[in-house]
């Protein structure tokens, strides 16, 4: 799973850099100089990384450490409440939910809803704790921004917010 994910990610990265490079060629010389230069170097590097995912020996060729120690960044292991796959799913789901709600219905609704959902359903805290945390953060954000700063928090696209 880790390997497959690594391949997909580096493949995407390579495509991204490649696309940027191709688009850069359409600009006039001064405009494209930096993106082309950086893009070329980055493309070569990302191809190396991509190949490194397939061929471990290839990867080892390039693992240079300035400080004469072999330290490969260890991915943090899953330690607690659930396994990594579930955690990833929850993370993606909840953050996207938060973003979409904020966009559609604004801060005053999205913040309490999303905080409550996380604390109660993912955090499995009891109702008193969940509700008080939700209330506190909602009051804090509303109080600080709307009242004190006289700032209109985004009302949400559905309620007339301007993008």
């Amino acid at each position: 799973m880790k390997k497959k994910e690594g391949i997909i990610f580096t493949a995407l990265l390579t495509c991204l850099v490649g696309a940027a490079l191709i688009v850069s060629f359409s600009y006039n010389p001064k405009t494209r100089m930096v993106p082309v230069l950086v893009g070329c170097v980055s493309l070569i590097l990302s191809l190396i990384v991509f190949l490194g995912e397939f061929f471990p020996q290839f990867r080892q060729l390039f693992e240079v450490d300035l400080f004469a120690r072999d330290t490969i960044v260890e991915r943090e292991k899953s330690v607690g409440r659930w396994d990594e796959k579930k955690g990833l799913f929850i993370a993606i789901f909840w953050v996207l939910l938060f973003a979409v709600l904020l966009f559609l219905v604004g801060f005053n609704i999205a913040v309490p809803v999303c905080v409550l959902v996380y604390v109660k359903f993912f955090g499995k805290q009891n109702w008193p704790v969940s509700l008080s945390v939700t209330a506190l953060i909602w009051v804090f954000i509303y109080g600080l921004f709307q009242l004190i700063m006289d700032y209109t928090l985004f009302e949400g696209v559905l309620f007339g917010g301007i993008v």
Binding site: Y27, P35, S42, F62, L66, E84, A91
Partner: protein, 499 residues
């Protein structure tokens, strides 16, 4: 007005009841807005402007200085506790501050930050006072070629910061620079990568980027790993943790002085921008340290370097601001606006005509740093508890504040979406072994590098040798090469020893 006269008048004015209130209020606002991501001191200053209408300018200055002085330390609190730089100048603090929290040493990190911030600010102010008589010469020393050397230095640190994973580190740096090139080319004005999307015309906005790369990334990470607390070990939360931090700053005197000097210098150069000071100081500290491999794992030196530099920068950036009317940073630009609102005209004559105002700012910065650092040391014990709170409560709170902050930065809801996007991007980068630091360095320095390079050529009318013709440029270039080569030399030395 004579130098000492102005100094004393402003000093005693600071103790007037109204002004004491202002300094304190400014400090509180500076701390609060500092630790809340997305709310910058610029917003705080703009908020307070109407309060000071009709008051004598001196009182206004105490208020503003209060905000500006406390802000960097406030930002370090969230950088250390929740891996979210509260302001752009606290990014480097995350690199070692947060790992210290994860080890249960948040108190120590806060102690370091409070001490380094306060002392760093004093350092910057002392240099400021010393250089006021030669402000003109100082400003004229640095032109595009010299800027480029500084920026190359910062970019060179991408190499250093890629330890353990050279290719991925360099690629990260390259990606950062590509991201920085989105939007209008600062030289030609042509829009790159986003002609049809108006949102990107001015490029990717820094604050949402940083919030996503750090705060939201960690929110996602904490959720994925299912950790129950931020700190994985429980270390004693007694005062000794904080005092350990205070002592750390004195243990690493050389690092502190070097970093403060770098911060002051970069602050003094208008146009380089405050976000770079803490990076460059951090990477110099890394390169000159006895234990460079420990940087990023939660080493005291890392926090000392970052926090002394970003406070020293305040004093440095005052120099061109009050000495010549040219803002040394974004906050200073707002300060200049405040001057005008009070009927003062910034420029080369401000010091002559309003020396007491200048001293009011200096004293305001001194007092607010003392207040902020003292608060930090006293409150550390309580603040540290955050790292031991149940994570399922902390995560949604961090996310809510971060997303609000990303929006509040300039009232643009798309900024919030950008932060989310960068949050996922940063998380997957980390998950696949890419260091975030190099990407951030590339992003922050990318545009400046391009501008300095092209401007140098325009100024020299196309003569590439301009980089070798100006004495200061050559000196900086040699220094840059020296510091970059140092780790290799040290390594060779180590090998020779072991052989």
């Amino acid at each position: 007005m004579g130098l000492f006269e102005a100094m004393l008048i402003s000093f005693f004015k600071a103790f007037e009841f109204q002004n004491l209130i202002f300094i304190s209020l400014g400090t509180v606002i500076g701390l609060l807005f500092g630790c809340l991501p997305g709310l910058s001191s610029v917003v705080g200053l703009s908020l307070l402007l109407p309060l000071t209408f009709g008051m004598e300018p001196l009182s206004g200055m105490f208020l503003y200085a209060g905000v500006m002085g406390a802000n960097p330390f406030g930002g370090s609190i969230s950088a250390i506790l929740i891996n979210t730089p509260g302001t752009a100048v606290n990014v480097a603090t995350c690199f070692d501050g947060y790992p210290m929290t994860q080890r249960g040493e948040a108190g120590r990190a806060l102690g370091i930050s409070a001490t380094a911030s306060g002392l760093g600010a004093m350092f910057g102010l002392v240099i400021l006072i010393a250089l006021i008589p030669v402000v003109r010469q100082t400003i004229m020393l640095f032109g595009p070629p010299e800027f480029l050397m500084f920026i190359l230095f910062g970019l060179g640190s991408i190499v250093v910061a890629s330890r353990g994973n050279m290719i991925k580190g360099l690629l990260g740096g390259g990606l950062g620079m590509l991201l920085a090139s989105v939007g209008r080319s600062p030289i030609t004005g042509s829009i790159r990568f986003s002609r049809d999307i108006q949102y990107f015309w001015d490029g990717i906005e820094l604050i949402p980027f940083v919030i996503g790369m750090f705060a939201l990334s960690e929110v996602i990470n904490l959720t994925v790993t299912g950790k129950t607390k931020i700190a994985t070990q429980k270390v004693e939360t007694k005062i000794s943790g904080v005092w350990e931090g205070v002592k750390d700053v004195f243990r690493h005197k050389a690092c502190f002085i070097r970093s403060s000097a770098i911060g002051t210098l970069i602050g003094m150069i208008p146009g380089i921008g405050g976000a770079t000071a803490n990076f460059i100081a951090y990477t110099v500290a890394m390169q000159t340290s006895k234990h460079p491999e420990k940087f990023g794992t939660g080493i005291a030196e890392g926090v000392v370097a970052a926090e002394s530099a970003n406070n020293a920068k305040e004093g440095g950036s005052l120099l061109p601001t009050v000495g010549f009317g040219i803002p040394g940073s974004v906050e200073m630009a707002v300060l200049l606006g405040a001057f005008i609102l009070h009927g003062l005209v910034p420029g080369p004559l401000l010091i002559k005509e309003n020396l007491d105002i200048v001293w009011a700012i200096i004293w305001g910065l001194v007092f607010s740093n003392v207040l902020a650092s003292t608060f930090g040391l006293l409150a550390a014990k309580i603040l540290v508890r955050v790292s031991f709170i149940e994570v399922s409560i902390i995560i949604p709170v961090i996310a809510a504040i971060s997303l609000t902050g990303a929006y509040a930065n300039r009232g643009n809801i798309i900024d919030m979406l950008m932060a989310v996007m960068f949050g996922f991007f940063s998380y997957f980068m980390r998950r696949n072994g890419f260091p975030v630091i190099t990407l951030v360095i590339g992003f922050v320095l990318g545009k400046l590098a391009e501008v300095s390079f092209f401007q140098s050529l325009m100024v020299s009318r196309g003569d590439y040798f301009i980089f070798f013709k100006r004495p200061l440029t050559v000196i900086l270039l040699l220094l840059l090469l020296a510091v970059l080569i140092m780790p290799f030399v040290k390594r060779k030395g180590k090998h020779k020893e072991t052989v």
